[in-house]
């Protein structure tokens, strides 16, 4: 990649957004489980030390503490790696936050395979699927720096449980464009196209755009949609694509079971049946490696998505 393309890890954007919004939202408190440095909430901690609570390595407890704070009018953002912010504490999220529909925000960093060297134990593929099953949970997976910051603000402006996954990988900034608007539950048409549609989420949106460019060079007209909000899903934009282009390819840096691909397939199956190919982690655990090496191996970078779609077309 050339040097002039700006790249920012979305976890960095998350930490910066919290710090930037702290004055405007005096009820915002940030909770960590000994990962403030990695989740980048340390940036908030520096600016608002009294409103940052380190719970120690106890994610289940942190989840409950956040619920208690929320009942008293605070807006807690709890922070950890996606593995521990959605997996370790799944039942606490379901019962202490989801069921009472409390105003707790979950900022999950280090999602997916791009955790890299830490390996499979820390590479959470299941978070989107898990969080999507909780009634009333908003599930967001922003695609870059701009979108992550907008999503944090949107989380603070809405009432109710909210889950956001961010990534460790330096991610190309793609939404730094005039007219960019972030609206929860509204997909974004990134590129018009007639033959097929790629629906991507998170850091895969940038890679999907690269794949689309290669496909265009081969004469395939590709529509690209950014679904930053997996729940509630923007049904209109998905159904319109199904109707107008037919064939859909979903791309996510997560298991293909239960996440974005499933959400799209579930919707189209009943409302506008068309072929939906789900690109992502194919029921596999990851492994150690550089994040870019892993994206290449599991064919989730621009080239990998391109070649997978070519094979499927």
């Amino acid at each position: 990649m050339s040097d002039e393309i700006k790249k920012v890890a979305t976890r960095q954007s998350y930490g910066e957004a919290l710090a930037e919004l702290g004055d405007q939202y005096p009820d915002l408190v940030v909770l960590d489980a000994d990962l403030a440095n990695a989740t980048k909430t340390g940036i908030f901690q520096k600016k608002f030390p009294d409103r940052h609570i380190d719970c120690g390595i106890a994610e289940a407890d942190m989840t409950g503490i956040a619920a208690g704070l929320a009942t008293c009018g605070k807006i807690p953002f709890i922070s950890s790696f996606a593995m521990f912010a959605s997996g370790r504490n799944f039942e606490q999220v379901r019962n202490s936050i989801g069921y009472p529909h409390l105003n707790v925000k979950i900022g999950a960093t280090h999602a997916g395979i791009t955790v890299g060297e830490d390996g499979a134990s820390h590479q959470c593929m299941e978070d989107l699927a898990l969080m999507r099953t909780i009634p009333g949970m908003t599930v967001v997976c922003p695609s870059d720096d701009v979108e992550t910051k907008a999503a944090v603000k949107a989380a603070l402006d809405m009432k109710g449980p909210f889950y956001m996954r961010t990534s460790r990988a330096a991610t190309k900034v793609i939404n730094d464009v005039p007219g960019y608007i972030f609206e929860l539950g509204k997909g974004i048409l990134m590129k018009e196209g007639k033959d097929i549609t790629i629906i991507a989420t998170g850091i895969e949106v940038g890679y999907a755009l690269e794949a689309a460019e290669s496909l265009e060079n081969d004469g395939v007209s590709v529509r690209v949609i950014n679904i930053h909000t997996i729940k509630p899903l923007d049904e209109d934009i998905v159904l319109k694509a199904a109707e107008e282009t037919g064939k859909i390819f979903t791309v996510e840096e997560a298991t293909v079971i239960g996440g974005l691909g499933s959400a799209v397939a579930e919707l189209t199956a009943s409302r506008c049946p068309t072929t939906v190919h789900r690109i992502g982690m194919q029921d596999l655990f990851g492994e150690s490696g550089t994040w870019s090496g892993l994206l290449e191996k599991y064919r989730l970078d621009g080239k990998g998505i391109y070649s997978q779609i070519k094979e499927l077309l």
């Binding site: 009294d50 106890a58 409950g64 208690g68 009942t71 008293c72 039942e91 019962n95 202490s96 009472p100």
Partner: protein
């Protein structure tokens, strides 16, 4: 409210528990009855609450971490005027506000939904922390079961409360010594409970949890403690007040039939008469 009135109220609360569970043909009478005196003292004397203004911001908070004893909570709340006592017979029925385990969004005055064991103390920590952050003086009470102490999250929460010095938090352990599979020692002993909480930087008070004088003394003492949370280890009798349910684990989660219901209510009538 004097002691006699509190004792009479505790009997009413027990009657409400038995009536609700009988009507529901399901539910958890044993642990509701063991904690009935604690429920009564909290809602009729200890806590700064107002049934007419159940959401008042400076109210004391209560978390029923052992959420299966919802009949106890519902009965004390009904008797305190949060909703009509008659409504207790809708417990667990389709369409009722009185869900099998408490739902804060159904009944105004319930400060937290609960039922999945081990989670309530963390929530109580969060409430106590919120009071600290806002310089508010309200206190937070959390009732746990003794079997519930087997849940690891309880000790995460205890560590947090102790480490952060949440002296506005008071945990009560309903130590009735019985859980579904047997006595708590036989299943997986959490004893010594007091020493464990002490090690987590709690001020610990051991009492007879069915003695209203001792309950009062303990709560008064807890309010004087600075810099650490309090844990009241309340030794109780499971099924207390109903002869055939006392210390009998089979009444953990079983409802009395019509005949048993009559015996139970007669026991409680007798108790009431004795107090008059």
């Amino acid at each position: 409210m004097d002691k006699k009135e509190l004792q009479l109220t505790a009997v009413k609360v027990r009657k409400g528990i038995v009536t609700a569970v009988h009507a529901a043909k399901a539910g958890h009478p044993g642990g509701s009855l063991s904690a009935a005196d604690i429920f009564t003292y909290l809602y009729f004397k200890e806590m700064n609450i107002d049934p007419k203004d159940p959401q008042k911001p400076d109210r004391d908070r209560f978390v029923l971490s052992k959420g299966h004893t919802a009949p106890g909570l519902y009965s004390v709340m009904a008797n305190r005027g949060y909703f009509p006592v008659d409504e207790l017979t809708t417990l667990r029925k389709l369409g009722s506000r009185l869900q099998g385990h408490p739902n804060m969004n159904d009944v105004p005055g319930i400060d937290m939904s609960s039922g999945s064991l081990g989670q309530g103390l963390s929530v109580a920590d969060g409430m106590a922390l919120a009071a600290k952050l806002d310089n508010k003086s309200y206190r937070v009470y959390c009732l746990c079961g003794d079997g519930e102490l087997q849940e690891g999250q309880i000790w995460e929460a205890a560590m947090f409360a102790g480490a952060k010095g949440l002296d506005n938090l008071c945990v009560i352990v309903d130590n009735n010594n019985l859980q579904i599979d047997g006595t708590i020692e036989d299943v997986c002993s959490p004893y010594p409970i007091d020493k464990k909480f002490e090690a987590f930087n709690f001020h610990v008070i051991n009492i007879d949890g069915n003695d209203l004088d001792q309950i009062e003394k303990a709560f008064d003492e807890a309010k004087t403690v600075k810099g650490k949370p309090t844990c009241i280890v309340a030794k109780t009798v499971k099924g207390k007040g109903v002869s055939f349910m006392e210390n009998n684990v089979s009444w953990h989660g079983t409802a009395p039939n019509d005949e048993q219901y009559a015996v139970a209510m007669a026991d409680l009538d007798k108790l009431e008469e004795g107090l008059k």
